[in-house]
């Protein structure tokens, strides 16, 4: 009895410590970034010497502010998620609902390996893809926004596949059989019952994918992000992105003030991620409501 109580106490202590360490680490990171970066937040950080209205209406380029990198990051995240979500969703549905025995084992192994591939390797793959397209499709194509988005989509695909598959496979048998017993086809069952009921899990994967697309530097480093490209004007052009800017400034800064703008950029990236998570959360709620109550 005494041993049990001691074991319980150790487990509770360990759990509390884990939670405290994690919360503490996150608070320290956020606090440090806010402490260092908050002071740099002004219009100059975003637009440099360009008039904000001219920059926002794309009348004049911004060369020494974060505005192009913010737009670049947003474009990158949206494009990557648009490319990855349908493919990831379809693959997750296939694995959970259609694939049997051997095919399932092979695909699961393949996607586990893909999930473990370092992002620099995915970046190299993106670079090789850009070279291939440049040589064999069009001289216009090189490392660019589209190639970066494709590479990032590949990077986050396993998250979406796994969360979709796990969410669908985790549904209890009575939910799986409800619509089938009412004459639904397999596809109707997936469309009307299984997907709406798994939406919460699936959107968790999308949120993870959004976060990963917004923060990954290794992939974009090799596939099209540059330091001073201005706002992205074409899918086949170079672009700026916040993680690249943070990496570039922190390794190449000429004076302490320049380094501080890196912290400012990190703070902006955190706020953008928070905003994207909020948008994804709202979409999740709206989709759940429509799927379940207006079906």
């Amino acid at each position: 009895m005494t041993t049990m109580k001691s074991a319980d106490r150790i487990i509770i202590l360990f759990s509390w410590s884990g939670a405290l360490v994690l919360t503490g680490a996150l608070s320290a990171i956020l606090g440090y970034v806010i402490f260092k970066g908050a002071g740099t937040l002004d219009l100059k950080l975003f637009f440099g010497d360009t008039a904000p209205l001219d920059a926002l209406t794309l009348k004049r380029q911004v060369f020494d502010g974060l505005f192009p990198a913010i737009l670049g990051t947003l474009c990158l995240v949206v494009l990557s998620v648009i490319l990855a979500v349908p493919l990831g969703l379809a693959t997750g549905i296939y694995l959970a609902e259609y694939a049997g025995g051997f095919a399932k084992k092979v695909f699961n192994l393949f996607f586990d390996i893909l999930a473990g591939v370092p992002s620099i390797v995915v970046g190299l793959f993106g670079f090789a893809l850009a070279v291939f397209l440049h040589r064999h499709v069009s001289r216009e194509i090189g490392p660019c926004l589209l190639v970066s988005s494709l590479a990032l989509a590949l990077l986050v695909l396993p998250y979406i596949i796994r969360t979709t598959q796990t969410a669908l496979e985790g549904l209890p048998a009575d939910i799986r059989l409800t619509a089938l017993a009412l004459g639904a086809t397999r596809l109707q069952n997936i469309r009307h019952v299984l997907l709406p009921r798994s939406l919460s899990g699936i959107m968790t994967g999308v949120i993870l994918a959004v976060g990963r697309c917004a923060e990954d530097t290794a992939v974009i480093l090799l596939t099209g992000a540059v330091a001073a490209a201005g706002v992205p004007r074409s899918l086949l052009g170079h672009y700026e992105a916040l993680p690249f800017y943070i990496y570039y400034i922190s390794s190449q800064y000429a004076n302490p003030e320049q380094l501080l703008t890196g912290y400012g950029a990190a703070l902006v990236l955190l706020v953008i991620c928070l905003g994207l998570f909020a948008v994804t959360f709202v979409i999740k709620r709206r989709l759940s409501y429509n799927a379940l109550y207006r079906a």
Partner: protein, 238 residues
């Protein structure tokens, strides 16, 4: 004994065997079920009662590594149909052979949409067809008076007994000819269970009902015929 199904027969099962992962669950079952009757399937857990129900609406096909042999004929729209013949639509079968499960399973949508859901699955989108059908199904399931003023409410706000009647109404809206009920009262209190029993007795005028039950008193109250399962075979009442 081999004879062609007679007019009062609704279901004819011939030499039905079922196995799961090579383990026999049902063995050589021969049985007929007549129109407008309630048959209670009784027996210990694992005897094959619930599995037998799923062989009558093809729901066993959702179980991986399951195998079925034998023949099931069901009289649908006046003619006997071999439900496992090539080309016979399993969706059509399940619209005509409804099923209600042990635990009420309303979908997390409004009461109205729950009942209208099977009609929409069947391709019906006309409001003037759906609305009267929903009302008729709710009336047949003794639920209309309790929910008529709150059809837009989430079905999950109903009590357990009401949810089970909603599930029965949802099966009835497709106007099935057979209703399979797998321990429909086991998750309900006695009062709610009694209402479901009355409902089943009332429904048998137009339906053939097969009910899995573990309650002897309930079987006595509602059943016209009792079939006892043991180890995958019909021990009595076949």
């Amino acid at each position: 004994m081999s004879h062609s199904p007679v007019e009062t027969t609704r279901i004819r099962v011939t030499d039905l065997s079922f196995s799961y992962r090579k383990r026999a669950v049902l063995r050589n079952i021969h049985v007929d079920f007549a129109d407008s009757t309630i048959t209670a399937l009784v027996g210990p857990s694992g005897a094959g009662k619930s599995t037998f129900l799923t062989t009558l609406n093809g729901l066993w096909q959702t179980i991986p590594e399951a195998r079925l042999t034998g023949q099931v004929l069901i009289r649908l729209e006046g003619a006997f149909q071999d439900i496992y013949a090539d080309g016979f639509s399993v969706s059509r079968l399940r619209r005509r052979v409804g099923m209600v499960f042990q635990t009420p399973n309303p979908l997390p949508m409004s009461i109205f949409r729950n009942i209208a859901f099977p009609l929409k699955l069947a391709g019906e989108s006309r409001r003037d067809v759906i609305e009267p059908s929903v009302e008729a199904a709710l009336r047949r399931a003794y639920l209309w008076e309790e929910v008529k003023d709150r059809l837009g409410d989430n079905a999950l706000t109903l009590s357990g007994g009401q949810q089970q009647r909603l599930c029965i109404a949802r099966a009835l809206v497709l106007e099935p000819q057979v209703l399979l009920l797998d321990e429909p009262t086991s998750s309900l209190d006695e009062t709610a269970g009694r209402v479901i029993e009355e409902l089943m007795v009332c429904l048998k005028d137009r339906l053939t009902l097969l009910v899995v039950s573990h309650y002897l008193e309930q079987v006595k109250r509602i059943a016209d015929r009792v079939m006892a399962f043991s180890n995958g075979s019909i021990e009595r009442g076949g």
